[in-house]
Amino acid sequence: MDIIPQIIANSIIAGSVYTLIAVSFNLIYGATKFFNITHGVMTAIGAYAVFFFGKQMGLSVWVAVLIGVLIAGMIGWLLDRFIYRPLREKKASQLALLVASLGAFTVLQALIAIIFTSRFQTLTHGVGVQKTFEIAGGIITQTQVLIVIAALVVTAGLMFFLKCTRFGKAVRAVSDDNEVSKIIGINTDRIIGIIFFIGSAIAGLAGILVGFDTAIEPTMGLVLLLKGVIAAIVGGIGSIYGGAIGALLLGFVENFGIIKIASEWKDAIAFGLLILFLIFRPRGIVRT
């Protein structure tokens, strides 16, 4: 059997997960110009909310997912409202924001571990085999189909929203020039708050989907953040479209890179790609 179709399928699935992280990271980065590390832990927050409400409380899967996404969004909004926004108002340096964000990441991750232990958990009951599909010789599970659909819908949705809606245009204005946006009458803090909500909710969704696909653990956010950020930088920092392209490229490079070598090399390959871009095309594929 030819392995290429399966590798392509795996590339697209990985690329889709990275897409969700990268585009939401870029959405927030665009509006704030700040490297939001806490973004990673939103994946774990979403996943553990589903674990709690779905598996432990026994709510239906869809309700639990909805709650998980909303909780991630809400916590993102709260972090901005009570940590990042006061820092912005005090004209804190980028470094201060970065450290605050790292601190919030660590605290939230620790809280999850304290409440739910550090053990691996699954979001589904038992080890029930998922429904699978075969597409052009590649096997893909039901959850993985959802991951790909989610990535497509989120990316297209965000692009439409930014391009065509009044609110989206205001977001682009704020990303372009915060001060002039204020002068024109845009409540930039409110816009940034909403952006944090949307971006964090998307990251939460990514964590939930990964949880259904494999398993969850409190530290799951770190690897996802790193991959998402690599994709964001490779594609073009701050750009939705760029984030998605970078994520897909990363998915393919990682999965094709390990055809002949051990899969432990995946992360090294990802960082190799990042370094190549930082040297030869630092503004990313779409050149932001």
Binding site: R166, K169, R172, S175, I183, I186
Partner: protein, 242 residues
């Protein structure tokens, strides 16, 4: 002049400090209905800070801002609701938005879609060069076109007051002339009161009624525009022989 008219906008005894630097030191300026007032002075005199103070973008150490003789605490994104438009120094159009989108966002407070469209068309009619570039990314416009767009964006709210910070900066003489023609037109046709910061004294005198001369954060002269030029104060301030 214009003492019978109601004072639209005033700064009274305003001081602004950045660290130890006195950007403004108990400065008072005013703008009447329909008036064009010039703010002149060398680099770092505090001209931009006056305009920023009106928008709450500079921290007031002392003093007040008054709108129709009533004090108000300027919150940057709310000042525009009074009908005050600010075109800041350095053009600062939204470079990643198209010309049309810049205007659209300039009318951010206008809820009625039809009204918004109407305003865009009426502003475009004033600036035919922009009309042709409607879908163009404004980052790719020429300096003069960007300045026109920045002014046009300010006009989207149909302002009572327009604050202009060095609209001629970095533009070719011919373009400067065009910009000032537009500014005079705006004042004449729309009765918009204008407070304008400008280095280009020649162009300024063609439009300004009254002027203030600033130096090191203080107002050193205030008079009708022609009198300011004939007094020789400008030369003295700009050559540092005050």
């Amino acid at each position: 002049m214009n003492t019978d008219k109601e004072k639209l906008l005033q700064l009274k005894g305003v001081s602004v400090q950045y660290g130890g630097v006195h950007a403004l030191d108990t400065v008072s300026v005013s703008l009447d209905e329909g008036e064009v007032v010039a703010l002149m002075g060398p680099n770092g005199a505090g001209k931009s800070t006056i305009l920023k103070a009106i928008f709450g973008l500079a921290p007031l150490h002392t003093g007040r801002v008054l709108w129709y003789e009533r004090p108000f605490t300027p919150v940057p994104h709310e000042v525009v609701r009074n009908g005050i438009a600010f075109v800041p120094q350095g053009r600062r159009v939204f470079t990643t938005l198209s010309v049309e989108e810049n205007l659209e966002i300039g009318g951010y407070g206008i809820r009625d879609e039809k009204e918004l469209k109407k305003r865009i068309e009426s502003v475009m009619d004033m600036f035919p060069a922009l009309k042709q570039k409607r879908k163009t990314l404004s980052g790719t416009l020429s300096g003069g076109q960007q300045q026109m767009l920045a002014i046009a964006r300010g006009l989207m709210i149909d302002p009572k007051v327009l604050l202009l910070d060095e609209p001629s900066l970095g533009l070719a003489p011919k373009v400067v002339k065009e910009v000032f023609k537009k500014i005079a037109e705006i004042n004449k046709n729309r009765k918009t009161a204008i407070m304008i910061v400008e280095h280009n004294i020649q162009s300024l005198l063609s439009v300004a009624h009254r002027g203030y001369v600033l130096d090191k954060g203080r107002i050193v002269a205030e008079d009708e525009a022609e009198k300011l030029t004939s007094s020789g104060i400008l030369e003295r301030v700009f050559t540092g022989r005050l």
